[in-house]
Amino acid sequence: MARATRFWPALVTLAAAVAFEIMPLPEMLQTLRPPLPAMVLLYWVMMWPERFGLLTAFILGIVLDILHGQLLGQNALALCMVTYTMVRFHLQIRIFPLWQMTMTVFALLTLMTALQFVVEGMAGFGTIGLRRWPAVIFGTLLWQPVMALLDRVREQCETHTSNF
């Protein structure tokens, strides 16, 4: 049997993304903060769907809910939805040209943000107009560098196992 792919570096990147999510930023940059945990999660679900799937998404969502002080399950629901889409279509999305993949990520991040918007609206919280959308656009713009970085991490992990 082949040695399993090392997957702890992927967990480290997820943890780093979570840390970035609560890192203090100047007030004017706060609404621009890209949704890195979702982006990193989507990357690993796309590349290693047999490792990172819906359960990871759910746990990550609960962690974000607690850290953000949001409704328990709000991020979990949104992340599960986009992760399901990614799991379902990962074979197609993986071989998309880069710009097409970026547009897919944009669509998924938009879906995620829209779900949060709907949940907050239904829960009766005050919602503030358009303030949440710049982060989606900024996240989409950052997809390519983030993906390049994570590709490097993944290649390191996979060459590690090539000795079967």
């Binding site: 706060q30 819906l54 759910f58 969502g61 002080g69 328990l72 919280f125 005050g126 949440r132």
Partner: protein
């Protein structure tokens, strides 16, 4: 890529189809949200999870705290001396004011005794520091480094040296979450210090603006009026400054004035806050 890794994954859940998994987890998430929102069933669960995640807060805020500590320890002798001088002068002025305060308090107690009403007791304070982590960017919330283990309770008023900051909304045992007065879901009962006209100051989501939407066009309010807590509602003790009126806009045909107020507390600059340990409900 070794697909054989699949056989290392135990459990029924991972063998289920993604659609079923997604459905199940989404239902769980929705149930959690409903339980968390309308009822208090999950307070304990949240607290437990928060305690588990406490190291994350500590790790993330550590470099920022360290940076601040370093910048303090390398500040020059002149700066420190100037600051020391400034603080000494301030302490002198404050203690001079306090002398009169003692006399006034005694007088107040006497007058209250004459009126047969109970004397207001001085409140006890707990000093807390703000933890250097950001919460939801669309809400005005902070995390303070005191929690249930220090006697912090949900609904506890939070103030700083200049005025009301907000109130504790969630206890994380070692830390606590507080909602600022400017949060879009926050409202605080206030009165105008000049004429005791009562109204409600509502948050706007912007750190430097409160709104007073419930005053009619003929209300006696002027720019610069100080708004203090009225004590109605029972959350905030009366008499703490909340905001000062910045702009009054009356629109013809509208029954209510549009009034903006500037919060008294330094909401985006504060480091330390005070938790009022008045009466626990």
């Amino acid at each position: 890529m070794a697909l054989t890794t699949v056989d290392r994954e135990p459990g029924q859940f991972r063998n289920a189809s993604p659609g079923l998994q997604a459905l199940l987890l989404c239902v769980i998430a929705i149930v959690l949200m409903v339980l968390d929102h309308r009822n208090e069933y999950l307070t304990g669960v949240r607290k437990g999870l928060s305690v588990l995640l406490y190291p994350v807060d500590v790790l993330v805020s550590a470099p920022f705290d360290l940076g601040r500590a370093l910048s303090e320890s390398v500040s020059s002798r002149d700066t420190l001396q100037a600051e020391n001088q400034h603080l000494r002068e301030e302490a002198l002025i404050l203690s001079a004011r306090l002398q009169r305060m003692a006399a006034l308090q005694a007088e107040n107690a006497r007058l209250r005794a004459l009126l047969d009403s109970t004397a207001k007791v001085g409140e006890d304070m707990l000093i807390a520091e703000i933890v250097s982590v950001d919460m939801n960017p669309f809400r005005n919330q902070i995390v303070v480094n005191r929690g249930g283990q220090d006697g912090v309770f949900v609904g506890q008023p939070v103030i700083d040296a200049d005025g009301v900051v907000g109130q504790i909304t969630r206890d994380r045992h070692y830390t606590a979450e507080a909602m600022l007065v400017t949060d879009i879901d926050h409202a605080v009962p206030v009165e105008i210090a000049r004429n005791r006209l009562r109204t409600i100051a509502v948050g706007t989501g912007e750190l430097d603006r409160l709104s007073l939407p419930f005053l009619p066009g003929n209300a006696d309010i002027r720019e610069g009026d100080l708004l203090i807590t009225s004590g109605l509602g029972g959350k905030f003790p009366p008499g703490y400054p909340v905001a000062s009126v910045r702009r009054i806009n009356s629109i013809t045909g509208q029954p209510f004035l549009q009034i903006d107020a500037t919060p008294a507390a330094a909401l985006n600059r504060m480091r330390e806050v005070l938790l009022i340990k008045d009466e626990e409900p």
